[in-house]
């Protein structure tokens, strides 16, 4: 799992079966310190509550499909949860 920030929504008019009504959100992957890395992706939202601007954590490949119900759907990334707070233990940054 990795951190991400929801930066937009995607409203598909035609999707394959099993994905009807599943919210699709544009997620910007983040590094450990919440800085953007890589290019944005589109992730299905298993919580159905994430909104643009929120910090989330998402899972990829098979575990993304498992997060949805019905689970056997063609999904590559899925939002697993919304982050309330990331508490960093102050280790010496080597």
């Amino acid at each position: 799992m990795r951190l991400g920030r929801v930066i937009g929504t995607v409203t598909p008019c035609v999707v394959c079966d099993g994905l009807e009504g599943v919210p699709m959100l544009i997620v910007q992957p983040l590094d450990k310190r919440k800085n953007p890395v890589d290019s944005p992706i589109v992730a299905a939202d298993s919580t159905r509550m994430a909104a643009p601007g929120e910090l989330i954590y998402y899972e990829s490949i098979r575990e993304a499909a498992l997060a949805l119900d019905p689970w056997f759907v063609p999904v590559n990334d899925a939002i697993i949860g919304i982050v309330d707070d990331v508490h960093y233990f102050d280790l010496e940054e080597t």
Binding site: E59, I61, F89
Partner: protein, 91 residues
């Protein structure tokens, strides 16, 4: 499996029900020299790993689901061990 160091914790109330009241930890991936390699992973804890501890993380779904005994868990990364010592002899 991955060598990691527990460097943070994630607090989340709205999440997939599997992750309810589970410790979700931020883990730095370590190089063999024991130093963070810059990459990180979010894993759940199964051995009560504490802050700054070097840990062993499984990053594969089927193994993770075997550990939590839940075939439908959307889980891939789980901390399965706390490392006391890493030894890499000079070959």
């Amino acid at each position: 499996m991955i060598l990691g160091r527990v460097c943070g914790a994630i607090h989340s109330t709205i999440n997939h029900q599997f992750y309810d009241n589970r410790r979700i930890l931020l883990v730095d991936r370590l190089g063999l020299d024991g130093k963070p390699s810059g990459d990180y992973i979010i894993a759940i804890d199964s051995v009560d790993a504490g802050a700054g501890e070097t840990v062993l993380v499984i990053d594969e779904g089927n193994s993770a689901r075997q550990i939590v005994k839940d075939d439908m868990a959307p889980l891939r990364s789980i901390i399965i061990g706390i490392v006391d010592d890493v030894e890499v002899p000079e070959l």
